[in-house]
């Protein structure tokens, strides 16, 4: 602080004296580093351009989606018809949310556990190796996950679904006839969870490792065990980071197309996780878009559900931001 204030104050006291005394003498403080100033301006401009570009792209996507989805709710003959679109969209939306919720519920604890192991428990060498493997998980194309889920995981889960149906069918999620192919929304959710574990782990691990040593030692010096230290110092510090990681994972799960389209045998909405049925918005769009004639009401309908997904993702992210900012005062950022 003092180092930045000092030149300003000395400039302020010297400038008037110089101007009064010898006007012709140039102020040595003015000349400065011209190249540096220009560089600063260029970089400022680049950063601004990048920021504006992202907003423009987002705006164009929103405008494109809105403009092209008008046909889904308004036609010349029938006028405004929100009801028909709503009854078409809500099962897909619930299907998407269901698959993503399953994925998050499985992936979050696993990913946070793995990240914690990597950052605080594993020996450094092992931690690096596992870190690479986790990063590799993120690099596998989703179609491979889809194929694995369809041909291997789904059949393997069938016996489990039968057992769940037998003993747990009083819970609505496990009621209904269990699918004999195993290609259900639960299988889809599990495949999605494997896909998003990588990203949640990577983000959480980074943030766990940034926990200030000072706070960890403060907890240990008070007589905390390792786990208590993690609860007292690491988790509170990492809260916002974990939420960001989970939101990135949720974004991927909500938008995932290929894996779900392959794994799920799509059908009408059902709350039974072990029966076939359900679909998600991205899968619905991917499976039907090629057959929808350009400019038709069907195409408009598909684009409109895309817009719904766009808005849902936006809302989810805003809620996450709000959760993070609610505790800003206690985040340690001040």
């Amino acid at each position: 602080m003092p180092s930045t204030e000092e030149p300003q104050s000395s400039a302020a006291t010297k400038n008037p004296r110089r101007r009064n005394g010898s006007a012709d003498r140039s102020n040595p403080l003015v000349s400065g580093d011209k190249g540096g100033v220009a560089g600063d301006k260029v970089f400022n401009g680049l950063a601004l351009a990048a920021g504006v570009t992202i907003l423009l792209v987002l705006a164009f996507v929103a405008i494109f989606l809105t403009f092209n989805s008008v046909g889904a709710v308004y036609t010349e003959e029938e006028g405004l018809n929100l009801g028909a679109f709503f009854s078409y969209a809500y099962p897909l939306l619930l299907g998407s949310l269901m698959a993503s919720a399953i994925a998050l519920m499985i992936a979050t604890p696993v990913a946070v556990g793995v990240a914690l192991y990597l950052s605080h428990y594993a020996p450094p060498k092992l931690s690096r190796t596992i870190g690479y493997v986790i990063d590799l998980l993120a690099a596998i194309p989703s179609v491979v996950y889809g194929a694995w889920g369809m041909t291997f995981l789904a059949p393997a889960l069938v016996p489990l679904y039968d057992v769940a149906h037998e003993y747990l069918d009083f819970i609505p999620f496990f009621a209904g006839t269990p699918s004999q192919t195993g290609r259900t929304v639960l299988t889809g959710g599990i495949v999605l969870s494997v896909m998003i574990i990588a990203i949640i782990t990577a983000v959480s691990r980074e943030i766990f490792m940034q926990t200030p040593k000072l706070h960890e030692e403060a907890a240990l010096a008070l007589g905390a065990t390792k786990w208590e230290m993690i609860r007292t110092a690491v988790f509170p510090f990492a809260r916002a980071g974990i939420i960001s990681g989970v939101m990135l994972g949720l974004g991927r799960a909500l938008g995932e197309t290929m894996a779900v389209a392959l794994v799920l045998s799509v059908g009408p909405l059902t709350f039974s996780l072990i029966s076939s049925g359900n679909s998600t918005i991205p899968a619905e769009i991917a499976l039907n878009f090629p057959e929808a004639p350009p400019g038709s009401e069907r195409q408009a309908q598909l684009i409109a559900i895309g817009l719904v997904l766009f808005l849902i993702t936006l809302v989810v992210n805003m809620i996450a931001r709000w959760i993070v900012s609610r505790h800003k005062e206690f985040s340690g950022a001040n």
């Binding site: 008070l222 509170p236 206690f330």
Partner: protein, 259 residues
């Protein structure tokens, strides 16, 4: 409660590097002992081995005995967590938990120990600890505000309050004033003089005036050169160390001829 400390031939290692060699020292209960010496001489390393915080660092280890009122804290089967609840520590930089309020920071030790406190017990602990740390009057109206919003000196006194809240037997301080302004330093030094009525205090400091002001006995550590282990050179009454040391290197250091 206050306990004496007796180190017997302690060697302290980082991996295979011996950072501190052959330290034996007797520290009385209810006293203030200052550890002084040039940077890298092992005084902080030794301080951190008194409450087994040294071994938190990867590959760090300790040889020898350290007796707390006669009980070896490095004995087999001793849980470092138990040792640390008995020997509190104040660090170089103030480190209140940023996600906790002032009140929660003071009670953090109880929360960690799993002690259930009634509202009134908790209130009295908070008031007693903050009063002992000379901080009560400054924060009593904002106990629910985050501890990280206080000034540096207040934060350090909050950390001291957090340490004394759990009534440890010994308080270790690792250059507690090095990040503070002179007025906050004075407040903390006054506090140290009060603390010795109830606790055994061991303080590492680079500031020799501070050692002279607050401590009764002073230990001078030194190293022969880079890569060599630090050793305890001389340990005596503070006035002896500063006025009439028996070792030449102690005299050179306290008179400012090196270090």
């Amino acid at each position: 409660m206050s306990k004496s400390i007796q180190a017997i031939d302690m060697n302290i290692y980082y991996g295979s590097f011996r950072a501190v060699e052959g330290v034996s020292i007797d520290i009385d209960s209810r006293s203030v002992t200052a550890l002084i010496g040039p940077s890298g001489c092992g005084k902080t390393t030794f301080l951190r081995s008194i409450n087994r915080m040294h071994e938190v660092l990867p590959y760090a280890s300790v040889e020898g005995q350290l007796l707390l009122d006669g009980d070896d804290i490095y004995g087999s089967g001793v849980d470092p967590v138990t040792v640390r609840t008995m020997i509190g520590m104040v660090f170089q930089k103030p480190n209140p938990f940023p996600t906790m309020s002032i009140r929660e920071n003071v009670l953090a030790g109880y929360k960690l120990n799993g002690t259930r406190l009634s509202r009134s017990d908790a209130d009295s602990i908070v008031e007693r600890s903050l009063s002992s740390a000379n901080l009560w009057n400054e924060v009593k109206d904002r106990l629910d505000k985050p501890g990280s919003g206080l000034s540096g000196g207040q934060q350090q006194r909050l950390c001291i309050a957090r340490t004394i809240a759990v009534k440890p037997d010994v308080i270790l301080m690792d250059e507690p004033c090095s990040a503070l302004d002179p007025i906050s330093t004075l407040a903390v030094e006054d506090l140290i003089s009060e603390l010795k009525e109830e606790y055994t205090v061991v303080i590492v400091t680079h500031n020799m005036q501070q050692a002279a002001r607050v401590s009764e006995r002073t230990a001078f550590f030194n190293i022969a050169g880079t890569g060599k282990p630090g050793k305890l050179i001389e340990y005596a009454e503070t006035s002896t160390i500063f006025n009439n040391p028996s070792e030449k290197s102690t005299e050179d250091y306290v008179s400012g001829r090196f270090g």
